[in-house]
Subunit: 303 residues, 2 copies
Amino acid sequence: MSTLPHRVTLVDVGPRDGLQNEKQPVATEHKARLVSMLQDAGLKNIEVTSFVSPKWVPQMGDNTAVMAALERHPGVRYSVLTPNMKGLEAALPTKPDEIVVFGAASEAFSQKNINCSVAESIERFAPVVEAAHAAGLKVRGALSCALGCPYEGEISPDQVERVVQLMKDIGVDHLGVADTIGVGTPRRVQAAMERALKHYPLHEVSGHFHDTYGQALSNIYACLEMGIHTFDASVAGLGGCPYAKGATGNVATEDVVFLLNGLGISTGIDLDKLVDAGAYISEQLGRPPVSRVARALLAKRQG
Amino acid sequence: MSTLPHRVTLVDVGPRDGLQNEKQPVATEHKARLVSMLQDAGLKNIEVTSFVSPKWVPQMGDNTAVMAALERHPGVRYSVLTPNMKGLEAALPTKPDEIVVFGAASEAFSQKNINCSVAESIERFAPVVEAAHAAGLKVRGALSCALGCPYEGEISPDQVERVVQLMKDIGVDHLGVADTIGVGTPRRVQAAMERALKHYPLHEVSGHFHDTYGQALSNIYACLEMGIHTFDASVAGLGGCPYAKGATGNVATEDVVFLLNGLGISTGIDLDKLVDAGAYISEQLGRPPVSRVARALLAKRQG
């Protein structure tokens, strides 16, 4: 039996990735309060917002206001998504600790979504990465559609490694392997992760799994067996799957913490406070948390 | 990396374990139709009903009628739960292939629920097992609360092994380790399974996991790594958690099949037909399937 990591770092992407597709505007104060509750629960890494055109993602139009409203805690890293130089320039004055750029492992996805090849899309990030580094910021690269693509179907480890190499070439510091449509299963996830680990050290590789088909926790467990110890997750399972309406998206942070607690792996996160944070934002959205742990614990609290 | 089994046997417990706690009566014809759709989907093992007092479990009061309504397929094994001699005697004329008896790993659970010790409860099954064997039937033993108990909390591998030994002593042929309240996580599940495997061969040990905290698939994956290749599951995730109202219970068969398909492990099950079966019974119950795979695939079908 393989040895599992003793400690895992979770990055809560709920405020950004989770909320970005919400149709109804979420008030800036609720977003800031969510971040505040997450850090109170012990999260040390929070993806706060994105600096993209409000025409594309209206929900993130209050990015500067959200960043200004944060009550920052020492030791907590606040990251923002910046897809281009304009985004980075808008983000810099708000003083994030880290920026996130993203590229797809799938050519079809890249062509359909941003009308250019994968290589071209990564190349466009080169000046963003350079400018971020010049400003002293770390750059996380998110490799989307790493296990499957809504247009192309299954994605091979070779396709993954090609984009990992491109990200490495432009100086991306951290590589996040993202199963955007949630079709990955443990052994295929391990095969993709192996390719990331050929180019990045263990502590600079993370997994981002979606629970659309209920596979996220098994995939995380399979990554733990490889020693991978950084994962994205989204409180209350915020963020549905954009390719199957009504289906589940991001794995819920609560569910990941329950798994890690059970494995005796420390996260520094207080599960009850995390459930409170998820219940808070879910109440604002007018629906129950998607997290199974949250639902079970909230049902228990009600007796 | 451990070698996984090439083939897995799934036992669908939806018609019995899944439906038994439904408050509204489900018509006998719908139950029979569900079994029919499950076998059409490729299930070779189906837990059909239970022979318990209708005062205790009114939903299973039509047990004889359901058994009579089955259109049996060759090669499919139909099992029924028989908690005592009276149940067995009622079951025998309906010609099941297998009977199921159950005992808890937790003393507190046993005392609270059936007002006797675990050892006493198992001892009471001895004549049932003997009579079932005399009638040529196989006996599956379900070991409930194997990872945790709603009254006692965490259950140790020692407690599990003690009951495994008791089941073995009375001649139970197959041992199912059941995480009744869904609190198990992979390494603790493996520790419990190791104890079962000290007394039963690999092909006579199975896992029964609940998804109350979303952990069922990682637990199944952890069992696969040990070579365990028989699992209970419930189509559409039928059967909520009796200890946390509104929370999820049995792992959905659809979700398990998706995992196994992704791992390249054959089950003989057609996932689309399985989703149909789950959608059918869910429609009768007036609610959507709990299975994440079912919800994602049904959403996709609607475009």
